[in-house]
């Protein structure tokens, strides 16, 4: 049972952050697409902006790994 809970906690850590990242990227992506229509020269900056929320899922991944390794 304990193993199940640990695995569930790790899954939550990465799953929720992945959802948060996806939500943030969807908003930035939509705004970015609008910006591109008016200022195509900002394409590079928009690609970077879209990549910014990925820090959340990276942190989630680190936490999930720590949960799995430390509570094993």
């Amino acid at each position: 049972m304990e193993k199940v809970l640990v695995s569930f906690a790790a899954a939550l850590a990465i799953g929720l952050t992945a959802l948060a990242t996806a939500w943030a990227q969807s908003r930035i992506g939509a705004a970015g697409a609008g910006t591109l229509a008016e200022k195509p020269e900002l394409s590079g900056a928009i690609v970077i902006l879209i990549a910014i929320p990925e820090t959340m899922v990276i942190l989630g991944f680190v936490i999930a790994t720590m949960i799995l390794l430390m509570l094993k």
Partner: protein, 625 residues
């Protein structure tokens, strides 16, 4: 790196101003500073003022602006045709052109307007022709009866037919004929045949129900339907001939005169630019005075040219840049050949200030390394090296693409290097085919060592960024900021040691002394950086953790390659297996180019450069043709 820029003053007699500006214009190395950024002695301010155009220059400017407007207007009437080059000296024919342009503009405006009117009429007649053609077949069925009237309709939707029939039947008591036909362009046309006595009512009813009648021009009213059809076709043919004649005349004129006008236009625009620039020059009672910027290494060249051309009548001197005007200094990025292609990646960032650093060398050094670490596959790296070499030759005329493939080439070499270190060649294919083994670690199984490796890279990159911030503060001469940056860097190192000791990556014994050192440094940090300084430090720790993406994205790449090989193996057939593996590896390769590139850039733009770069530099825009 950011090239050294000199502040230069050029002074000479007013009469030579235009020649001096033309000389600077030809060299293309000097940017005029429109603001007065020099120390002026008290009492001398009234003697230095922005240059005012004299009567002669002012009338020349007005004349040239008027001529340019007329040339542009004439061009707007003419068709776009490819023209030859004109070798006539434009200055010698300026007056002649000024004399001819009015006549040409008037003649071709007239022709242009006539052509537009004819095109409009032809378009309308084409609409009638479609209608009449469709009705021609219907009219054949109707006997010629003078007491009948014909109403034409264009029906937008086929569903309307029933409704129209119902409307007319209510008015005519079913004494009508309604015929429909599909026209050449697919639209549905209808013909209502009714008695003349009730045609007014029918037309009114159609109008009230937004069913506009297709009315022919008044000139057609006296003609019968077959005559109308013939007349429309003849008129269209006549108009087409007229339009062709006008276009021919305009094209002949454009081919003969546009090269000359283009040549004159270019000359006029150059002269006007020079005249406009004079507004950025200053003058005293006798002299003009130009202040501006130029790359320091070109100063000798420009000085020699000015001295030789004007026989010492114009002086050029290099001035010290005052601290308060540092923000006005334009920025020129000048990098060695290796770093030059990486300027492409820096273009997405705002220009750094003159006192800051050029991000190009940093991207040039670290971007390929991070890319290589993430991709880390010798097979993929070799494919990309070959692709880059071939593409560089294929697109050698397009500078941006050549730069992009140069970056890919360098980054791919690093991918090969890290691929050998990780023992990866198209995933585990290298191991299966020729027993390739990892030199340091196998990424697929070594999750924790790879996390630590990525964090170490992040820590090193962050420490370098924070240290550069310290150097930037010293260069600016801001002592308080320098102390803040230094204490921040030291604190960051201590925090890393503390975390490492807590996880027993370094001796646990270090925990207490490091903790005490952090506690001692904290007030100092707050004193120099304010109450938000500890938060900034935490942000740096977050930035460091962000480097875990090196491991995470690399792991997805290696697992996808591994899966591609396994799925190929499961097919049980060599040809199918090669095909499946090839497709999956191709997909992984495409992802393997974009993903590492975007994330490496992001690590630079967001995590690394935010520690020391100051944006907001002015672009160097010298006077040039």
């Amino acid at each position: 790196m950011i090239a050294r820029i000199s502040n230069v003053e050029i002074v000479g007699p007013k009469g030579l101003l235009r020649d001096v500006l033309t000389c600077l214009w030809d060299m293309g190395l000097f940017q005029i500073e429109p603001e007065l950024i020099r120390h002026v002695e008290k009492g001398d301010e009234e003697y230095i003022r922005p240059f005012l155009l004299d009567k002669k220059m002012l009338s020349e400017r007005l004349f040239l602006e008027d001529l340019l407007l007329k040339i542009n207007t004439l061009f707007s009437y003419l068709p776009k045709v490819s023209v030859r080059m004109s070798y006539i000296e434009p200055l010698s024919i300026l007056d002649t052109i000024a004399g001819t342009i009015d006549g040409h503009a008037s003649r071709y405006r007239e022709l242009y307007e006539k052509k537009e009117a004819l095109e409009k009429e032809r378009s309308e007649l084409n609409r009638y022709r479609i209608f009449l053609d469709a009705l021609a077949s219907l009219l054949g069925q109707i006997e010629k009866m003078p007491e009948l009237d014909f109403v034409g309709l264009t029906i937008k939707e086929p569903d309307m037919v029933g409704r129209i029939r119902q409307l007319i039947s209510q008015i005519t008591d079913w004494k009508f004929e309604f015929l429909t036909e599909t026209a050449e362009d697919g639209t549905l046309v209808g013909l209502i045949i009714i008695q003349k006595s009730i045609s007014g009512k029918v037309k009114q009813c159609l109008s009230q129900n937004q069913l506009p009648e297709l009315t022919l021009p008044p000139a057609f009213s006296e003609l019968s339907f077959p005559e109308k059809n013939t007349h429309v076709k003849m008129r269209i043919s006549f108009i087409s001939g007229e339009i062709e004649n006008i276009t021919g005349e305009m094209t002949r004129f454009a081919q003969r005169w546009v090269p000359i006008y283009l040549n004159v236009k270019e000359c006029v625009e150059e002269r006007l630019s020079l005249l406009r620039i004079t507004a950025e020059v200053f003058e005293t009672r006798m002299c003009f005075f130009i202040n501006g910027w130029m790359p320091s290494d070109k100063f000798e060249q420009v000085m020699k040219k000015i001295r030789d051309t004007f026989q010492g009548k114009v002086t050029i001197t290099e001035k010290e840049i005052l601290e308060e005007y540092l923000d006005r200094v334009p920025v020129v990025l000048k990098n060695p050949r290796y770093f030059k292609p990486f300027e492409l990646l820096v273009k997405y960032l705002p220009l750094p200030r003159y006192t800051s650093f050029d991000p190009t060398p940093f991207i040039g050094i670290f971007f390929p390394i991070l890319f290589g670490m993430i991709l880390g596959d010798a097979g993929y790296g070799m494919v990309l090296v070959s692709l880059s070499v071939v593409m560089k030759k294929l697109v050698r005329k397009k500078k941006e693409l050549v730069d992009a493939f140069s970056i890919l080439l360098i980054s791919s070499v690093y991918a090969v290097f890290f691929g050998i270190l990780f023992g990866e060649f198209f995933g585990d294919l290298g191991h299966m085919l020729f027993g390739l083994k990892p030199v340091c670690m196998e990424r697929r199984g070594a999750v924790v060592p790879m996390i630590l490796f990525s964090l170490s890279i992040g820590a090193a990159h962050m420490i370098l960024g924070l240290s550069m911030g310290f150097i930037a503060a010293i260069r600016k001469g801001s002592k308080k900021e320098a102390f803040y940056k230094l204490s921040g860097t030291v604190m960051f190192i201590f925090i890393i040691i503390l975390i490492a000791s807590l996880f027993e990556l370094v001796p646990r014994l270090l925990t207490r002394p490091v903790l005490i050192a952090i506690l001692i440094l904290t007030p100092f940090l707050i004193l120099t950086g304010g109450f938000l300084a500890p938060l900034e430090l935490l942000k740096s720790i977050g930035n460091m953790i962000s480097y875990v993406r090196i491991m995470a994205i690399g792991l997805t790449s290696v697992l996808l390659a591994f899966t591609a090989n396994r799925i190929a193996g499961m097919t049980g057939d060599i040809l199918t297996g090669v095909l499946v593996a090839g497709l999956l590896h191709l997909l992984n390769l495409v992802l393997g180019v974009f993903s590492p590139a975007i994330h490496s850039l992001r690590l630079h733009y967001v995590e690394f450069f935010s520690k020391f770069l100051e944006y907001g530099g002015r672009k160097f825009e010298p006077l040039r043709k």
